[in-house]
Structure formats: structure tokens, C-alpha cells
């Protein structure tokens, strides 16, 4: 086994040193980044996104400490002038917020204490930056006394009266914070919270920030931005504190607040104050939507991968910078109806399986379809002919979809076979035919069916572009896939990063399945709310899988579903929200009214990183409409039996298209 460190290991931005944050920064485009963070805007902003969308990296990159390292021999004051803002980074978990809610009957008292403590931490980090600016800008005339006087006015504690320098103020702030730490710990044993608060919330950071222009004129138009990371770790009443600082920060306290999609628990301010309003006190941007719709993501992904190798966790190929991931991964050859893979993967054996499925469907057909034994023999002879396996399968699908009760089955089969023959003989000339269109729609799904039915391989996933699509604009998801691939290759002594070899489709498929399993089973432990969401996703994926592997596929590349917003009720609503929050599902676009009923329809797509777990496609085409009963059976944890019953009905409808009683379930539920 190769003894190298996986360059695609899931090292998080929070693990990086300040210099690594700069080294691993891959520009999405300054216009896009500025639109997201808006560093000079005086209004606070929430930047929400799923795990791995780069929130921490983005905030830390814009912090003073990291910006300082980007230009050598620069003074702190020069850094601030170059940046045109002063970014102060803090992780929400650094205040250990769970300590501040021990007593539910006195939440407001603890909220006040948390507010003071939180502000002390903000002030501490800001003062730490100011101390560095002072130490590195020896030529500048920095007036500590004026700055301190601004702060002293709002502190009611004699111990602050004699402070004269930034360093002394920092020491005083640290002392205040430690005093609260000890008081909170002691309260657990004594039941008494003995602490003297020396300022009210907002009375430390507001004057400190406002006083900067008096400290040095260079700060006259420089906004101070507090970059607060992982806000989901704050409880509702703790977020009220942040909201109050956002609202009453008098235009001088500005925040960029990042968190998961579910992170924002309230918009209320403290003491039952008014709620902050979008557009008035804050704005919001959702990174997932931006990244999923970002046209430059594929090229970003390649640079991101190359950077990982160069910055190198010491992997082979690191330092060369010439690694092209597309050249190291074997891709599916779809030419000549996937003939190459049908032969190499041994998929011919699948033919018997899908013919048997067709014959089962014919056996259960309503007599009005006219599918007698004699007729069926002729139909099969037409449809199967000597066509390639994939074309045979498409012929059966088209027959299932086009056969109506008054249609002549033999004539229909003959027509399909003729069209197939013309397409096989001359695909280019026939590119506008209905057959070519059908082939374009269904070829990928039918190839997946062949793979599954042959029992020699499962559905396959290969090629760098496939992994890029699976990552859905999320660089962490890409790392999950490539990390698995690298491990698998290393285990086989294969140098994935040298471009000298191509990793097989089988190996890539195995890595994709591993990545899906990791994302579904191991990377989603968010507490009890995640469990029903995970189960709902399993049910949804089973419906999609039943559709994709049906004899009469109901929708091309089924990965998305749609349903009316008014149809989802009760517990299902919460579970759907959790599935979105934990990025199991993506909402594709805003709700749109149904053309006929004018009801608001919503459309959701399974996270394609999960697709290999159920053999689903990684790109969506159509969306499967879900009935009210089905959507609630999927998302309501209590409706498992209903779900199984509904699934049997769907399976019947999609696998026995000529049956008189679509609801007469024939399938065994455990097969799904």
C-alpha cells in the first residue's frame, strides 16, 4: 500500500493555518466573491450554505489576520488601507454557548450575561488586531488615549478608569471575560451567579469601533466587519443578542454571519424587541444556490483539484501542477449504443431479464390490448430482431409507452422496429426522428438497467465530469468523491495523480458508492432531527429507483419530484424542511403555479452525491409528480405501511402497463 497522504482528505478550512487559507484560496471570480461578502457594505448579511460550501474559508480569507499574510513586509495599517475594511473573525463555538443556558426559568438573566460575554469576545478579537496594527505600524501616530476615552465613557467599572493603551484595554477585556468564565462555572456548584457586569450590551464594541477614526485618521471610512462563523451553534435567545447588535449597532457594528441553511432560528431582538427585517437590517445570500448555478464551477473544480495537489499534502504529482483529472479517469464510451461496455461488462445476459419482464407484463395484460400468445411472439420478434441490446430495450420501452387499447400491436412493433433499424443504420441521418429523440432521452437510464439486470455489475459512475456533477457546486462533495478514489487507487498501488494511467470504471463506481454511503450514513449526524429526514430520503430514493428501473420508465432520468405545496401537511413539512437543511434534497426553483389548478407546485431534487446508493442518475431531466398521499407517505415517519402500499401501486403501474388493475399489487415489497 502506498504510504502517501491523501491530497483530497477532508481537511476543513477550520483546520488550516492562516497562510494555508491564502494558499488554498481558489478564486471564484472577484465579482462573485464581492457580491457574496460585500465587505464594504454597512448592512449586516447572512451567508448561509450547506456543509462544505466554503463559508469558513470565505470568512477567514477576509479576516485581518489572513489578509496580513498576503503581502510581505506590509504594516497592519497598510493592510487595512489595501483591504478598505477591517475583518474580525470569530467562530460561534469559541464562546461555548451551551454554558449560558443552565436554568430555563432564568433565561433572560443568562441571555444578558451571554450578550456581555459575546461582546467581550468580539472586542478581544478586534483589540488583538489593533494591537498587531500598532506593533507593525511603528511610523504611524496612533492615539490610544482618544480611543480608550471613547470606550471608558460607557464602562461602569473603576478598574477601567486608568487604562491608557490598547494593550491595557485588551488585558482588561480578557480579565472581564475570565471573570465571567469563573462565575459561570461556580454557579453550577453554588447555585448563585455572582458577577458584576461593567457595561450594557452594545456599550463596548460600538464605542470601540466608532473610536477607531480617533485612533488614526486612516480608519475614517473603514468599516469594521465582524465575521461570525457557524451561527447555528447559538440558541434562539443567543441569536436574539446577535440580532440586537445587528439592529442597534448604529451603523458601526456590521456582521457577516455564516451558518448552515437551518442556522437562523429567530429574527427577533432582545427583550421582545422588534424583529429584524430582510433588506432593512440585514440581507441574506444562499451559497448553495449560487454555486449550483455558477457556470464556471467545472473549471473552478479543476483548479481546486490542482491546488490541492500543489499545496500538497505530499501526494504524488504534487508540485507539478499539470495534473488533469479528466485524463486519469476512464469514461463511458456511449458510441455504438454502448457496444464496447456491453461486451466488456458482459451485459448481454441482461437481455433475458428484460424480455422476461416484458412477457410478465404481457401475461397480465387486459385482453382489450389484443396481446395473444401468437401476437406476442410476432411483436417480440420485431422488437428484438438482431438489434444491439440497448436498442432492443428501447424498443420494448417505446412499445409499452405507445400501445393503446385500439392500437394494432403487430403494426406498432413493426413501426418501432423499422425506425430502430433506420437509426441503427444511420444515426446521423435519423437524428431528427422520434426514435433518435427517444434514444437521447432514455439511453442513460436503459444502460443503467442493462447494468443492473446483468447482475455482473451495478449502474456505473465514471469520469471527472460525473464527479463534478455529483458535487453540485460543493467543493467538499468533490473532495469526498476524489478522496475515496485516491484511497482505492493507492490501495492497489496505482498512482492516480500521475496522468500515466486511467482508473477503471469499476474502481470509480466503487468510489462513487463509497462517497454516497459516507454522505448518507456517516456525514449527517446532526441530532435527532436528521433521523426522520434520512429515512424520508430513503423512501423518496426508493420511489425514484422503482421508476428508473421500471419496464415503462415514467420519467426520463428520475432524480427530481414535484408536488403541490398545499399537499404536504403535518409532520411531513418538518421532515421536508430538515431534508433541505441537511442538504439531502435541493429545492430546484421557487414554487410555480400549476397550469391547470393554479396551486403552488414545488420541485425538489435528490442530492446527486447520494445517487449511487440507489443507482440513480446524477443529472435530472424530468420531475416525477407525487400525489398528496404519496408525498406524505414519504415524509411522514409514521406512515411506513402507507408508503409500502403506495410503492406497490406505483411498481404495478410502471411494470405492468397493460394490466387492467394498476392497483393490483404483484410485487414483493422486500425487493425494493
Amino acid at each position: 500500500m502506498r504510504d502517501t497522504q491523501n491530497p483530497f482528505a477532508l481537511v476543513r478550512a477550520s483546520d488550516f493555518s492562516d497562510s494555508q487559507i491564502n494558499g488554498l484560496w481558489v478564486e471564484l471570480g472577484s465579482r462573485l466573491i464581492n457580491a457574496v461578502i460585500e465587505p464594504r457594505a454597512r448592512i449586516s448579511k447572512y451567508i448561509l450554505g450547506g456543509k462544505g460550501t466554503g463559508k469558513t474559508h470565505l470568512l477567514r480569507y477576509h479576516s485581518y489576520q489572513v489578509a496580513r499574510l498576503r503581502v510581505a513586509n506590509e504594516s497592519g495599517l497598510q493592510t487595512v488601507a489595501r483591504q478598505k475594511f477591517l475583518g474580525v473573525y470569530m467562530r460561534a463555538t469559541n464562546v461555548d454557548p451551551g454554558r449560558f443556558e443552565p436554568d430555563r426559568s432564568a433565561l433572560r438573566k443568562w441571555q444578558q450575561l451571554f450578550g456581555v460575554y459575546f461582546e467581550l469576545r468580539l472586542a478581544e478579537d478586534l483589540l488583538d488586531a489593533l494591537r498587531d496594527i500598532k506593533q507593525s505600524s511603528v511610523e504611524a501616530k496612533l492615539d490610544d488615549a482618544k480611543l480608550i476615552r471613547e470606550v471608558q465613557r460607557s464602562i461602569h467599572d473603576a478598574s477601567a478608569d486608568n487604562l491608557t493603551t490598547v494593550e491595557e484595554l485588551l488585558t482588561w477585556v480578557e480579565g472581564q471575560r475570565r471573570g465571567i468564565d469563573h462565575a459561570v462555572d461556580n454557579a453550577a456548584f453554588s447555585g448563585q451567579l455572582n458577577i458584576q457586569i461593567s457595561f450594557s450590551i452594545g456599550a463596548l464594541c460600538v464605542p470601540l469601533t466608532r473610536g477607531l477614526a480617533k485612533w488614526h485618521p486612516a480608519f475614517e471610512n473603514i468599516p469594521v466587519i465582524f465575521l461570525l462563523d457557524e451561527i447555528e451553534n447559538f440558541s434562539e435567545i443567543q441569536q436574539e443578542v446577535v440580532n440586537s447588535l445587528v439592529r442597534y449597532g448604529e451603523g458601526v457594528l456590521t456582521f457577516r454571519i455564516t451558518g448552515r441553511l437551518y442556522s437562523r432560528k429567530t429574527l427577533a431582538t432582545m427583550a421582545r424587541g422588534e424583529e429584524n427585517r430582510e433588506g432593512s437590517e440585514f440581507t441574506t445570500v444562499e451559497l448553495d444556490n449560487i454555486l449550483r448555478g455558477f457556470d464556471g464551477y467545472p473549471s473552478f473544480a479543476r483548479r481546486f483539484v490542482a491546488k490541492r495537489l500543489i499545496s500538497g499534502a505530499g501526494g504524488p504529482g504534487s508540485g507539478s501542477g499539470a495534473f488533469d483529472p479528466t485524463r486519469s479517469l476512464e469514461e463511458l464510451d456511449s458510441s455504438r449504443f454502448y457496444d464496447h461496455h456491453v461486451r466488456t461488462l458482459g451485459l448481454e445476459s441482461a437481455t433475458a431479464s428484460f424480455v422476461r419482464a416484458f412477457e410478465d407484463a404481457v401475461d397480465s395484460a387486459d385482453t382489450s390490448y389484443g396481446l395473444t400468445d401468437d401476437v406476442t411472439l410476432v411483436v417480440e420478434a420485431h422488437l428484438m430482431g438482431s438489434f444491439p441490446a440497448l436498442v432492443q430495450r428501447l424498443n420494448l420501452l417505446l412499445f409499452c409507452k405507445k400501445l393503446k387499447k385500439r392500437t394494432n400491436p403487430v403494426h406498432l412493433a413493426s413501426t418501432i422496429a423499422d425506425a430502430a433499424q433506420r437509426f441503427v443504420d444511420s444515426p446521423t441521418a435519423e437524428r431528427r426522428s422520434f426514435y433518435a429523440t427517444a434514444y437521447g432521452h432514455y439511453a442513460v437510464d436503459l444502460f443503467a438497467q442493462l447494468c443492473r439486470e446483468s447482475r455482473k455489475t451495478g449502474p456505473v459512475y465514471s469520469g471527472f465530469d460525473t464527479f463534478v456533477k455529483m458535487s453540485s457546486g460543493n467543493p467538499r462533495n468533490l473532495l469526498i468523491c476524489l478522496g475515496r478514489l485516491y484511497e482505492s487507487a493507492s490501495f492497489r498501488e496505482l498512482d492516480f495523480t500521475s496522468n500515466a494511467i486511467k482508473l477503471s470504471i469499476a474502481m470509480q463506481t466503487e468510489a462513487a458508492a463509497d462517497a454516497a454511503r459516507f454522505a448518507y450514513e456517516r456525514d449527517s449526524n446532526y441530532g435527532s432531527a436528521a433521523e426522520p429526514a434520512r429515512e424520508a430520503i430513503n423512501r423518496l430514493a426508493i420511489v425514484l429507483r422503482t421508476a428508473r428501473y421500471a419496464l415503462s420508465i415514467p420519467e426520463v432520468s428520475p432524480l427530481a419530484v414535484s408536488f403541490s405545496d398545499s399537499d404536504i401537511v403535518g409532520a411531513s413539512k418538518d421532515v421536508l424542511r430538515a431534508a433541505l437543511n441537511y442538504s439531502f434534497l435541493f429545492e430546484i426553483d421557487e414554487g410555480r403555479p400549476d397550469r391547470n389548478s393554479q396551486r403552488l407546485m414545488r420541485k425538489f431534487q435528490l442530492n446527486p452525491l447520494l445517487s449511487p446508493r440507489w443507482g440513480l442518475p446524477i443529472a435530472r431531466r424530468g420531475d416525477l409528480p407525487l400525489s398528496k398521499d404519496l408525498v406524505n407517505a414519504i415524509f411522514d415517519p409514521e406512515l411506513q405501511r402507507d408508503f409500502e402500499a403506495q410503492l406497490r401501486v406505483l411498481s404495478q403501474r410502471w411494470n405492468y402497463p397493460f394490466s387492467a388493475k394498476a392497483g393490483n399489487a404483484r410485487t414483493q415489497p422486500e425487493l425494493f
Binding site: 497522504q5 482528505a9 477532508l10 481537511v11 476543513r12 477550520s14 483546520d15 467562530r91 463555538t93 469559541n94 461555548d96 454557548p97 451551551g98 454554558r99 443552565p102 469576545r121 478581544e124 478579537d125 488583538d128 480578557e174 471575560r177 475570565r178 468564565d181 469563573h182 459561570v184 462555572d185 461556580n186 453550577a188 456548584f189 447555585g191 451553534n233 478522496g483 459516507f518 450514513e521 456517516r522 456525514d523 449526524n525 446532526y526 441530532g527 435527532s528 432531527a529
Partner: protein
């Protein structure tokens, strides 16, 4: 650095526990459905026997044992649970005290150790019974519902350096979801996993390794392997010694390191983490014990009773 080797520990023959263990003034155990908890409760000689009924087990009044004092706190908060216990016990000065930690919740064990020390208790006998097996081997579920919040055990929050490196020392057990939640909460930390080895039985090490490997991205981090340490699953003092040596190593490598400890392995190891904090962590500062909030917990996770240990804890 404390020499934890000198603390007293011994194995007790389960069939002779009434003879091998001294008679105590007060015996406390946490009620659950495991054989080992109930056998020890019956077998130990004590003037007063008290059942602590953790709300996490969600017992109904009808399910509760008869004939002994019951402590039935309603809040899962460790302060409320321990205060309820202390209020029931009354003054314990001078009394010989024995606690069976087998069924106790981890956050309560950790807080109880500090509380007893603050109450002036200088010595307490702690017993722990090893199971024959976990009920469903590596599939055994322990915590059944969590709030998603990870927080310091009350009173053990400490005061941290504002810009120090974060170190997370995890006692690795079967509960991969808890490991994942803690690691996510401290996701910038350098992780030192302590695996329970020697385990309670040879197969249990492998079972815990299998489960722990499912803990999300922390288990993919190189430090999961190259910073791995081992401590016996059934010895709190050796566990405290391993924690102590890790912290010494950290202090040699990092200035102003902030230490977070999360004991997610056996209750004995949780006791070991608590003892390290009591003897060294509180004085060192910038060290706290953090745990995910468990709302509910399985009542029965094991079968049989293999060995019984007595540890003399000096505070």
C-alpha cells in the same frame, strides 16, 4: 503530573461480592434494565441503598423498583440530577459511600465527581460491572436521541485562551453519532482519539473500531490514526494517566492550547476523564469536558455480568 498508578483498584468475584466488598453506609446506583446493574444492587451490602433514576431512560412510575429510596429528577441537566441526589442523601460527612457507575449517565458522573469534592467528600468507592457482551455487538445502540447540542459539563467550562490552538481528546466508544457531533462542534481542533484497549473483551475493541470508523469526516482525518492512543476500558486511573500524557505532549507542542475532553467510551473511562480534570485540568486551566446532550438512552444494552471492579477514588 499525578502518578495515577498508586490509586487502589481490584477485581471482585461477582458471586462473592457480599464477602469481598466491605459493607457501606450508603450505596447508590443508576436504575436500568441491565442484569449487571440489578445483580450488583442486590448483592452489595449497605445500610442505605438508593436508586438514581435518570430521566434519559424514560421510565414510567409503574416501571420503577420498589423497596428502596428513589431519586427521580425530571431534568436531564446534570446540576439538577446531582442536586436531587445530594438532597436525598442529606449530609454524608464521614459516611462510607459507594457508587455503581455502570448505569449512570456520563455527564452526571463527571459533574458528580466535582460536586462530591466540593461537598468535602475525600474518598468514595466506585464499582463498575463488566458485561458478558453488548446486546447486539457492534450494532448496539446506546444514546437513542440527542438534541444536537454539544456543551461543557456544568462547572467544567473553564476559561480559554482567545487565540490558542484547540485540542480535542475523545474517548472513543461505540457511539459513532456522538463522536461525529463532538468532532463537528470542535471541527478546527487537533483530535487525539483514545481507543479503549485493552477492551472489556477482545471482540469489543474490534466492534468499537468498526463503529468509530463510521463517525464521519473525523475518522478520515490522518490524526485519527497517527494521534491515536490507547487506555484500558476498565481502568479510570490508567485512562487519567493517558489523558495526562497527551496533555503534557500538547503543552510541549502548542503554546496556549485549549483542551476539550469528550469521554464517549465506557463509564469507567468517563470517570477517568473526570479524575484527570479534578486532579490536573482545573489547575491547568483552559480545559473542559464536553458532551453531546442525550435526551434519551437505551435501558438495556448488555447481557450478563463478567467481572466487577472496585476503584477507590480519592478527591
Amino acid at each position: 503530573m499525578v502518578d495515577y498508578a498508586i490509586y487502589y483498584r481490584r477485581a471482585i468475584d461477582v458471586g462473592r461480592m457480599d464477602k469481598e466488598l466491605a459493607k457501606f453506609d450508603i450505596f447508590i446506583s443508576a436504575f436500568n434494565a441491565s442484569d449487571r446493574v440489578n445483580e450488583v444492587f442486590k448483592g452489595i451490602q449497605a445500610d442505605r441503598k438508593v436508586w438514581m433514576v435518570h430521566p434519559e431512560y424514560q421510565y414510567l412510575p409503574l416501571d420503577l423498583p420498589q423497596g428502596h429510596e428513589l431519586v427521580t429528577p425530571t431534568s436531564i441537566d446534570e446540576v439538577a440530577q446531582v442536586n436531587a441526589l445530594v438532597a436525598t442523601l442529606g449530609p454524608v460527612g464521614g459516611a462510607s459511600l459507594c457508587i455503581d457507575i455502570t448505569g449512570f449517565m456520563r455527564h452526571v458522573i463527571v459533574f458528580l465527581v466535582q460536586k462530591l469534592a466540593r461537598e468535602g467528600v475525600s474518598t468514595v468507592s466506585v464499582v463498575y460491572s463488566e458485561p458478558q457482551a453488548y446486546a447486539q455487538q457492534e450494532q448496539t445502540t446506546f444514546s437513542t436521541k440527542t438534541s444536537g447540542t454539544v456543551r461543557p459539563v456544568r462547572g467544567l467550562g473553564s476559561s480559554f485562551h482567545s487565540s490558542g490552538s484547540e485540542i480535542l481528546i475523545i474517548g472513543v466508544g461505540y457511539d459513532d453519532k456522538l463522536i461525529s457531533q463532538v468532532a463537528t462542534n470542535k471541527d478546527g481542533a487537533v483530535v487525539y482519539p483514545i481507543f479503549a484497549f485493552p477492551s472489556l473483551s477482545p471482540d469489543m475493541y474490534q466492534q468499537s473500531a468498526v463503529r468509530a470508523a463510521a463517525s464521519g469526516d473525523v475518522a478520515l482525518n490522518p490524526s485519527w490514526v497517527n494521534k491515536r492512543r490507547f487506555a484500558p476500558a476498565n481502568d479510570p486511573f490508567s485512562t487519567a494517566a493517558v489523558v495526562s500524557s497527551i496533555v503534557a505532549e500538547v503543552d510541549r507542542s502548542f503554546a496556549n492550547a485549549n483542551i476539550y475532553l469528550s469521554p464517549l467510551s465506557t463509564k469507567v473511562q468517563a470517570l477517568g476523564f473526570a479524575l484527570w480534570w479534578h486532579h490536573e485540568g482545573s489547575a491547568r486551566g483552559a480545559a473542559s469536558i464536553i458532551l453531546p446532550e442525550c435526551l434519551t438512552y437505551s435501558r438495556e444494552t448488555t447481557t450478563g455480568i463478567k467481572r466487577l471492579w472496585e476503584f477507590t477514588v480519592e478527591l
